[in-house]
């Protein structure tokens, strides 16, 4: 894997004449994260080259889902879920990487346009009658919760340049990473503007026995339930055998 990576990097840097037409080339060391029984999180390295000086910003977004945020209120001494805001198309994973502090490379308008940074994330709201203050509070809670789970980056990660043209960044995925298709967007920024961009997919999926269990549970729910019951009953019976004569 490492040798292959190195070879690719060398090729990319050597082939300057050909690459001249391509201001930005980037790829991931792997386009598939397989979640198996022992999965405790993983890293994927993004690498690439540019055709000259410039800065790189990387945005990684997980599959989008509608997400309900509920707020507890005190009712008769008890804390009860009362109000809720449903945010539409919330990425289940979100991380930003850049070669220099964002503010130095790109003005706020550019960041907003490309949804770079948590504050620029476009989130729709399902409920009509919600004050902007409310939405802001619930949105902050949503982001806080995801950050606690390690699914939204707390800070902007680093893109490291090796020389002028070669760059790399390490994307970290925690053990609880949601499955689905991720998009990795790479922006080449010069003179406070995005020159070009590239998007590459990354699939996170369950693999091996786990994937099979999940598929079985989804497709044959009744039989899955029966198997679960019979398996448990067998285990209970087996375990009682050694104690039979005691």
């Amino acid at each position: 894997m490492k040798r292959w990576l190195l070879a690719t990097l060398c090729l990319a840097s050597l082939a300057t004449p050909a690459a001249a037409a391509e201001p930005l080339i980037a790829d991931l060391t792997s386009h598939l994260i397989a979640i198996t029984t022992g999965f405790t999180g993983t890293n994927v390295v993004l690498f690439g080259s540019t055709d000259g000086a410039g800065d790189i910003i990387v945005v990684v977004r997980g599959p989008e889902r509608d997400t309900i945020v509920r707020r507890k209120s005190r009712v008769a001494g008890l804390w009860i879920n009362k109000r809720q805001v449903t945010f539409t198309s919330v990425p289940s994973y979100y991380a930003v990487f850049s070669s220099r502090p964002l503010a130095e490379i790109a003005p706020p308008s550019v960041q907003a346009l490309h949804q770079i940074g948590l504050t620029n994330l476009h989130l729709g709201v399902l409920e009509r009658k919600r004050s902007p203050d409310d939405v802001a509070n619930f949105r902050a809670a949503l982001i806080r919760d995801r950050q606690r789970d390690g699914l939204f980056g707390d800070t902007v990660g680093r893109v490291n340049f090796l020389g002028d043209r070669l760059f790399r960044a390490t994307i970290t995925f925690p053990a609880n990473v949601p499955t689905g298709t991720y998009l990795v967007e790479i922006f080449l920024v010069r003179d406070k503007g995005v020159v070009t961009g590239q998007t590459t997919p990354l699939v996170v999926s369950q693999a091996g026995i786990d994937a099979e269990i999940n598929e079985f549970a989804g497709r044959w729910a009744f039989f899955y339930g029966v198997v679960a019951v019979v398996g448990a009953a067998m285990a209970g019976w087996l375990a009682s055998l050694p104690f039979r004569n005691a």
Binding site: I68, A141, A232, S240
Partner: protein
């Protein structure tokens, strides 16, 4: 060592799960309660999603109660006839319960419903049991081995459809165990528990069964109620994690066998007093959690 749970979609330490299963299994063996009322809250605490914790606990219960019921069966402490009547009510109740659970999940009030009904039920039961059993202990000390009536008869026992339960030496209305089974079936589905903690006291105080027959008979019917809840949860909510349930079981079945042995050494009223204390402690904790200001007022859920 971490293990990835396919349905829960989280990684957890195997040893934590084994110890948790073992401790709960021990309680189940001693008292004839499934121990689900402790298992579910603990699973949620270590990061298993609420709905998965409830459904997988039910699955784990199947195995734990098979193991426990077999141990009691070998000692002749299972009233098969009573168990079957309870079961009929139980099946109906668990179907209703799974439906209620799906509805609560939609409106986002699962946690509240579970905690509140737990706390109220356990609190009432715990106090009643504690009073009764401490009275029995005091009386036993004062009078030595004086004989008393097998059980008290109330108007409840006089309802129609009377049936004779030979092993339990009872002649009571079948409506009583039917209703009890139904109620426990609902609880099973909503809370992911076998309902033993309701069943056991109710069998002693409401039905008037002999204490020795109670744990075995309770476990016997829990097997089937938990089995039907597991299948229904798998179909209705898709939240049964078979890997989680099996890991919990490995610890649980061993704990249950040891617990059964330990339970035999205790006298009936001591057993009841001890169970009362456990039940009250759980009720207190649940109520406390509902009233204490949460660390984060906000919670997230993926909408379907």
């Amino acid at each position: 060592m971490d293990i990835y749970l396919p349905i829960a979609a989280v990684s957890l330490d195997v040893f934590v799960l084994l110890v948790l299963g073992g401790a709960v299994g021990f309680l189940s063996g001693v008292f004839g309660v499934g121990g689900g009322f402790l298992l579910t809250p603990f699973l949620i605490f270590i990061g298993v999603p609420h709905a998965v914790a409830v459904a997988s606990s039910a699955n784990q219960l199947v195995g734990a109660s098979v193991s426990g019921a077999l141990a009691h069966w070998r000692r002749g402490n299972v009233d098969l006839q009573m168990g079957l009547v309870l079961l009929v009510g139980g099946f109906a109740g668990s179907a209703v319960g799974v439906w209620i659970f799906a509805m609560l999940r939609r409106i986002g009030q699962v946690e509240l419903a579970v905690s509140l009904s737990y706390a109220l039920l356990l609190g009432t039961l715990g106090i009643l049991m504690l009073v009764e059993s401490s009275r029995a202990i005091i009386r036993g000390r004062r009078l030595g081995a004086s004989r008393r009536k097998l059980h008290q008869h109330t108007w409840l026992h006089g309802l129609p459809l009377k049936m004779r339960f030979r092993r339990s030496k009872l002649y009571i209305s079948a409506l009583l165990p039917l209703a009890l089974g139904f109620l426990v079936g609902i609880l099973s589905a909503i809370m992911g528990v076998g309902g033993g903690f309701v069943m056991v006291p109710a069998m002693i105080y409401m039905l008037g069964m002999p204490t020795a027959m109670v744990p075995g008979t309770s476990l016997f019917q829990i097997i089937f109620v938990a089995a039907s809840v597991t299948v229904l949860q798998a179909i209705e909510n898709g939240t049964v994690d078979i890997v989680l349930a099996l890991v919990l079981l490995v610890g649980g079945v061993i704990g249950a066998q040891l617990g059964t042995r330990f339970g035999q050494r205790l006298r009936g009223e001591q057993l009841r007093a001890l169970l009362a204390v456990v039940v009250l402690a759980v009720a207190g904790k649940l109520l406390f959690d509902l009233t204490v200001t949460p660390e984060d007022l906000f919670s997230l859920a993926i909408s379907e």
